[in-house]
């Protein structure tokens, strides 16, 4: 948490320094501070009670609405609780909920496995797509001789600041069978939103693999056949993938743009003088210099995409044929619509662990590459 020379706050919390992120704090604060030098870490008010008086209200709220809920989630995940009665009137059942999710044959495990499969394919498409497109757009926008930068930047960023539910509904409207996407695309009408066909299955069909090999339908993992595991995202999920990519490009483009602007022009010019082509300069100079920012964007993307919920809820509520259920959606569905709250809590704890691992890795790696 060091202060940069320009009075910029480096990366919030996680990393000690967020490489090339735009300054969160405007220059106004240090300017207002006048010529006084910034000194930090010095105790100010002697009375320690005062510090607690200032922090207590926020702390109590965070404890009640964030910290204690984590403990409660962990606690109920070991109980036999439907969600309909008070959790205090329930029985301790050890790891049974986790067992049901991971090892015990049955619909609970199959649903969980499907949610992981769906979310995995979602991540597999969204993260590379949003990162690449955001990067390419940022590189083009970073061209010094371009006019109308502000307009382009604003229009790309705009979807990112709007309500996820509102843009999801607009996308559902566009992707209807009789909607704009089908009208614009030069193919025959595609049923997007109610289409459970896996993209990889469809691709296999195109190269003549109509029938899956028997071993792939007779064997499986976690209650889902191998053939189903390799299905790819369903067409419906693919529409959600496009939607989320569309909404998140703008944010990541701004992060890339800030990173690109911190590369001194002289670096590019030196490459040109040395005879590098534009593409060579891009690939051998710009991309390596942007590595920390790319890494930051990819990990942020990984953390966010494993939590996808709003778009799932508002598009198809997990359908068709469970091809858009995700762990986050299952947490909601199992507890609030299916009376399996303890099971949902176990999913929540597993998801929390995964996200915490990603976050931890990100903070560690940013710390170690922060100076690049």
């Amino acid at each position: 948490m060091t202060l940069g020379s320009g009075g910029r706050v480096d990366d919030p919390a996680p990393a000690v320094s967020l490489p090339e992120a735009p300054p969160i704090v405007s220059e106004a604060a240090p300017a207002a501070a006048g010529p006084l030098k910034v000194k930090r870490g010095k105790p100010i008010q002697g009375a320690s009670g005062l510090g607690w008086m200032f922090s207590a209200p926020a702390l109590i709220g965070l404890l009640v609405f964030v910290a204690i809920p984590i403990v409660i989630a962990a606690w109920v995940s070991f109980r036999d609780w439907s969600g309909l009665v008070s959790p205090f009137d329930t029985e301790y059942i050890g790891f049974e909920n986790y067992n049901d999710l991971l090892f015990q044959d049955g619909v609970r495990r199959t649903d969980f496995a499907l949610s992981i499969r769906n979310n995995f394919y979602y991540v597999l498409f969204v993260v590379p797509m949003q990162t690449t497109l955001a990067f390419v757009l940022a590189v083009i926008l970073n061209n010094r001789f371009l006019k109308g930068k502000g307009f382009f930047r604003t229009s790309y960023y705009f979807p990112s600041i709007t309500s996820s539910i509102a843009v999801t509904l607009i996308f559902v409207f566009l992707f209807q069978t009789s909607g704009a996407i089908n009208a614009i695309l030069p193919f025959e009408t595609i049923n997007w939103l109610d289409n459970a066909h896996g993209l990889f299955h469809n691709a296999l069909g195109l190269i003549g693999v109509e029938e899956p090999p028997t071993w792939m339908i007779e064997n499986g993992f976690m209650g889902v056949t191998y053939w189903q595991w390799i299905a790819g995202p369903s067409v419906a999920m693919f529409a959600i993938i496009l939607l989320v990519t569309w909404t998140s490009i703008g944010t990541f483009m701004l992060i890339f743009l800030a990173g690109l602007q911190s590369i001194p022009e002289s670096v590019e010019e030196a490459a040109k003088v040395d005879g590098a082509s534009t593409f060579q300069t891009f690939w051998h100079v710009i991309v390596p210099l942007m590595k920390p920012t790319i890494f930051f964007v990819v990990t942020i993307g990984l953390i966010a995409t494993w939590q996808v919920f709003d778009q799932i809820y508002a598009t198809n509520f997990g359908g068709p044929q469970k091809t858009t259920i995700t762990p986050a959606f299952l947490i909601y569905f199992q507890s609030f619509r299916n009376s399996q709250a303890a099971l949902a809590a176990a999913i929540a704890i597993l998801l929390l662990l995964v996200i915490m691992i990603f976050t931890f890795l990100q903070r560690r790696l940013i710390k170690s590459t922060g100076d690049v």
Partner: protein, 291 residues
């Protein structure tokens, strides 16, 4: 020098720049067109939308321009004015609360020394990474236990507490020099006076940035209302009300009304965005971290 390079061949000029514009304009269309189409379609008849899904004008053959969609915004099941009112109330109060609480805690963390401060800060850093969806069930339980379920209080109060907001305010206050506090103390100001009269005004850019980010985040919030007011449709916010619209209509979706609803949800934030764009851009890295 710059002018010279601008005109020199090979410097982003010619067909390459043209190609750049083609890509940029294509994507600008991709990002803007859906909103334009939603706006136009709000004023079309349903058969018109069905027959001409991409047309940017109303077809007189299908009844031309109409206010049917707008009239549908306030009915038995679609209660956009009520939801907009709820969204406004929730956003204003929760934002004020969040900014106030975060300022207090951020100031304490940045400028005061007291036992347990390090632990408190470590806790905030950990809580920053906890995704909201993980806490759905226990939050619901706590609201129920506190008797806040299906009430404005339950809708608003939990949104006031945000680890990220505290973190951000701590960063802002850390930039202010300690000497100001010392000077205020010498002048006989109490700690509270120092905070409200000296430090808060100086942290104004930070307060504005946090306010803008909070307004946007709380206005768009979906998860929390979803669990806080499950049995009180009259307390729904715009995102919650809209999300449940599709289910309530089944096959025949009144798209002109739904799209008008999405625009009513979008426009206030769009206005805030265009007025305070600078703060959004600066806050990107921050919100990105929040995920």
């Amino acid at each position: 020098m710059v002018a010279a390079t601008a005109r020199s061949p090979g410097e982003g000029g010619g067909w390459r720049r043209f190609l750049g514009y083609v890509v940029l304009i294509f994507f600008a269309l991709v990002f803007i067109f859906p909103f334009v189409l939603a706006l136009v379609s709000s004023f079309k008849t349903l058969p018109d939308i069905q027959a001409n899904p991409v047309q940017l004008w109303a077809d007189p053959e299908y009844g031309g321009w109409t206010l049917d969609g707008i009239r549908g915004l306030n009915t038995q099941s679609v209660r956009i004015p009520r939801w907009a009112l709820n969204s406004t109330v929730v956003t204003v109060i929760a934002t004020l609360g969040r900014v106030f609480l975060a300022s207090l805690a951020g100031y304490a963390l940045a400028k005061m020394s007291y036992p347990g401060k390090q632990i408190l800060f470590a806790l905030i850093i950990v809580l920053l990474a906890v995704p909201g969806v993980v806490l759905l069930i226990p939050k619901f339980l706590i609201l129920k236990q506190l008797g806040l379920l299906n009430s404005y209080a339950g809708l608003i109060v939990p949104l006031m507490f945000d680890a990220f907001a505290i973190f951000l305010m701590k960063q802002f206050f850390e930039q202010l020099p300690d000497e100001l506090i010392e000077a205020a103390a010498i002048d006989g100001a109490s700690a509270w006076q120092t905070f409200t009269r000296v430090m808060l005004p100086l942290a104004l850019p930070g307060l504005i940035a946090l306010t803008i980010l909070s307004v946007q985040g709380i206005w768009n919030e979906f998860l929390h209302p979803l669990i806080a007011v499950p049995a009180a449709p009259e307390l729904a916010t715009l995102p919650l009300g809209l999300a449940n619209l599709r289910a309530s209509f089944g096959e025949a979706q009144p798209w002109n009304t739904i799209l008008a609803g999405t625009l009513i949800t979008t426009i206030p934030i769009a206005i805030v965005f265009f007025v305070f764009q600078r703060y959004f851009v600066q806050g990107v890295a921050a919100t990105g971290v929040k995920g």
